[in-house]
Point group: D2
Chain length 355, copies 4
């Protein structure tokens, strides 16, 4: 079994012509598409309609090729578009596709493996509680088993998290922050990044010393279940890609990212060259404007600027640094990083081709 990644670029949030053409010419088998993760050029906030447009159009393209109703496409394909292409970030999407079947025995080397699954439906009052944490963890364990990925070889868990509709709103934890935070802790629990006994309802969104190094969670108002995609390496998978990850300790921590490449035999002087950019098939990161309003002792103004939202700044900073290191601005940086890495920092996952 192999994971392939097709990268498409958008002239507009509704432009999926490259995906369409790739399917038409046989480069992508639409029936094997697992997920599409992309960055669209809206503001990433509540009035960001670029994401809706992207989901609408990508769904139409897939529906045409799959000869299915657009309404059921998201049952088979996880569509996750994150708004905000500040600075150099180029609007783009990565299409994750599988090919082949599992070998009869594990191979000598591990390659990029992908799994997807859904939690059960949540009740509004369950969001942001240990119930959500545990169901998320349980779902991830199930995904890992099906995809034959060992928890220690997981490098990226993307959760499109639940915020079930509730009117009138009664559950104080049925919010975006609580949903994201609980999902992240669910990831941490499933991967052994935290201990079960350290988790309880009270520490959620309180004890930020407990976090995941692999999570990338968002939350979608109206979604009653969480949709999860896992990326890791597994000897049951072949192909040309591998994934790795690190954690930026703060928003300027380029060193951690450079070290990650060095562990692949790519020295810092080799970085920045075109040849390396060509080998990169995914960069996913979480960014956060340090709530303590400083970075390395220096005051920052991201949280005191009433003209521009801090999430736009945080994405801009991290995407600039990652684009400069990798040589490609096709980076997926999202914000709001509760329980994702330490305060002010965040996880970074990178998918590389082996050669």
């Amino acid at each position: 079994m192999e994971t392939r990644i097709f990268t498409g670029f958008m002239k507009h949030p509704s432009d999926f012509s490259e995906l369409d053409a790739a399917i038409s010419r046989g480069e992508i088998d639409p029936f094997r598409i697992v997920a599409i993760l992309g960055k669209t050029e809206g503001n990433g906030g509540r009035n960001d309609f670029s994401r809706d447009l992207a989901v609408e159009k990508s769904r139409q393209v897939l529906a045409t090729h799959l000869q299915q109703d657009p309404a059921v496409i998201e049952d088979r394909v996880l569509l996750s578009f994150s708004g905000g292409t500040e600075g150099v970030t180029t609007p783009h999407y990565r299409v994750f596709e599988t090919r082949g079947t599992f070998p009869s025995a594990p191979l000598y080397e591990s390659r990029l493996a992908i799994g997807r699954g859904r939690t059960r439906q949540f009740l509004p009052e369950e969001v942001g509680t240990m119930t959500m944490v545990e169901e998320t963890a349980q779902t991830i364990r199930r995904i890992l088993e099906q995809a034959r990925i060992d928890p220690h070889d997981v490098h990226f868990v993307h959760v499109k998290g639940a915020i079930p509709y509730e009117w009138p709103p009664k559950s104080p934890r049925n919010s975006m922050a609580y949903s994201r935070g609980a999902s992240a802790l669910g990831v941490a629990l499933a991967l052994g990044e935290v201990n079960q006994h350290d988790l309880n309802d009270d520490m959620i969104l309180q004890d930020y010393a407990l976090y995941s190094r692999c999570a990338s969670t968002s939350s979608k108002p109206g979604l009653s279940y969480s949709d999860i995609m896992v990326l890791g390496n597994s000897p049951w998978w072949n192909g040309n890609l591998v994934i790795t990850h690190t954690v930026m300790q703060d928003i300027l921590d380029a060193q951690s990212v450079i070290s990650l490449f060095e562990s692949f035999g790519i020295s810092s002087s080799q970085l920045y060259k075109e040849a390396i950019a060509q080998r990169i098939h995914g960069v996913f990161a979480k960014a956060e404007a340090d709530p303590r309003q400083s970075v390395r002792g220096y005051r920052h103004t991201m949280l005191s600027d009433d003209d521009i939202d801090d999430t736009r700044y945080a994405r801009c900073v991290v995407s600039s640094i990652l684009a400069a290191i990798t040589g490609t601005p096709a980076v997926y940086v999202s914000t709001r990083a509760e329980h994702h890495g330490p305060l002010g920092g965040g996880p970074v996952a990178v998918i590389l081709s082996i050669s």
Copy 2:
């Protein structure tokens, strides 16, 4: 003769308490201050009042210590505050001060040298023309002579350029862009970066293949003369600081900046460490959102975002990259870079302590 640099941090655009204290305790001799360059937290645009506040307050502090009328302070000290501390950039200022006198003979090694001067007053119709270019160049030559800096050892020329008041407005070139562009070409001419015969009125703001690698120009409506500060290295100066510069070929060109440090014996692995940040006493750069709307073939959205001005994005991108490389967010990045480096790129000057 020695150039010293004191770095102060601002809790607010009106906060010059660190400068005040430094003068009071004798760390700075107010009579030897040549210039103060700082970054304040406004939007860098027309309605940025953080700069006015900073000029007002720094002037008051100096006036008190110099026992002079605030109104005449700028005759002796160049006050240049650039707005826009997007992303991680920390609001700060660098105070340039001289100490001692020239030695009787040049020393073996060159150290940071500083000079300052003013052009004559310009007529509105002279702005943005070869007249301005040549007067700017002439003034710079005069500054270099007084400061004993060889043109080839210049690394940074900061021009607070003229846009004389004219009502009703009649001179089409009496604008911010033309003023900046002509000033930059004046720098290029004085330093031998361009040939006299390649310059004429028509190529100003037209032929961007001609540019300076050291210029940092701005323009101030109402100013009738240009105020110029030059930084370079000279064997007639001693002290602990040196300056160097490079040009980012595009907005992601971290490699050029890293190479600049390597030429000082600081390897890329040494960068990012605290010890290096401590040695940095100035980082000055020009940033620009590539007007061709792409970077390395990838579309960027900085010029199509009607919610946020492209200058804010450009400063954010470059300052993030420079702060990540140097380990310090005390970077001075400004925008609008006509004839400063190639299209989409810009000069970067760095001041380091020798050890």
Copy 3:
């Protein structure tokens, strides 16, 4: 023949549930829909994707009911969504529908009449020139004839104007401003608001003393023809609605709007009452931040604010005033008003029910 207007409100730019339900219950005959004009909640600028989403969704709803391909819907229905619901403006749309047929003879009273048509395709170099002005006027005359509206009874002409695709861009007038301006002058010419001999290529976007009092033009990059909708009163039409218009002389000119209601026997004291809001079925206006940077001698800051685009302010000001006068925030205010009313002012059209 009768013109009916259905007003729908949007919870989101993709929400056309009210339209859908109205068609389903037979309140609207989808085959008789002529146009849908709406205000969506984007920023009204280049990166406003709320409009695309609205067009996409409204087209789908119509396609379903008409059993046609969404791609051909705009041949039969003019879909025009304007972005920017600043301040109190509520996201909404007005569906214009006809019913019945023309009577054998004109009636005693005139009622709201509607017509629609398209210009021929324009070449890029024709945009913004007299060619476009004349073809626009000719098309309007044809529409008036078919709809049996006398030019003097026209009160609102909505033009979704052409900006044909051209690569590389060579025609300097193939721009949004020129397209809007030429369309507006075409309206003025057709309605006898200006004389043919006063028009020529040079005065377009130059002589703002010549303008239309009824135009509402926009331009859509990529559209090669102009799509035009005309509203007026005609004795060949019956029903319950009439339309009228006025011109705000400047952005604060509420008096002109109040006078317009007084001419309908609605005194200013009756205004602001709920009963009047119920009788209003359309308010369409153009707004502009006076380029002279003042209103009635008082300086305004709409054009010097680098954080917020002046179009957002202009729409907010005019929509607030119109909403306060009419008692309803379902107002359609758009900006960029070249040759629409005097500098700093703009036309306002109001559709009322007779009782």
Copy 4:
């Protein structure tokens, strides 16, 4: 005793040339200035430096004429600059000055009266509690007594409220919202707008059915006492000015404002004419984007727009309506209106000349 008002317009937040000239020519007696209230062109938020600049410069102008240290000017003059001149609002200030002395007996008619005073210093933990409410009320009573204004003749109470510095921050109520709310309730208590027994710590920022119809409160971090100015009518005062007030029931309630003028014998048809604008010497209002996200049943987008702060919209809407009604954009509209008028509405005070 007479209250005079001088209105100055600003070309820039630091422009107090009109005040300077008025004092120089004797039109204003600087020793009789009580307060200056103005609107400056910043964003009204945390990074609004236009206010600091205005305070700085106005203080300098006064210090020069009073021959005093700028640092003590605010002991004698209340300087209150509110940021945000969205839409048509023109940057301006009103200088309140007294002349003469009290008559030996009250006159037949009441005229504009002004009073000023300060609360004692508050402890951080007192802010936002009944202690603050009562001390505020007590101070107002004292002011009324000195100024000889009956509580029922008060129409506008401006409070620059306390938020004493506390580090580390421990008092949860030592915040801007609590300070504003408690100040407003203090006004309501002093004027008899609410009953003592209805007030307690718990209802502050909770029970919005209790509010003042005359309050205009703000809060200034770092200020340890509240600075209060009261405007009303009193028979002990003569001159040409009177003040009145009303409450906009919602953000579109122009009717209440028009009725206020009608009570002065100015019909709605007389409004909008220049002659009326000349008689207006002050318009002060509080604006608020209805937190229920709708106005008269129509959804508004002011609170879901992540590009522009709702306060900027709210000020724009109300100032546009008031400017359209009065014919002058010299209106002072501020936001955040806890316990000021009903939810979504706010008080409006108007100062008129008698003829």
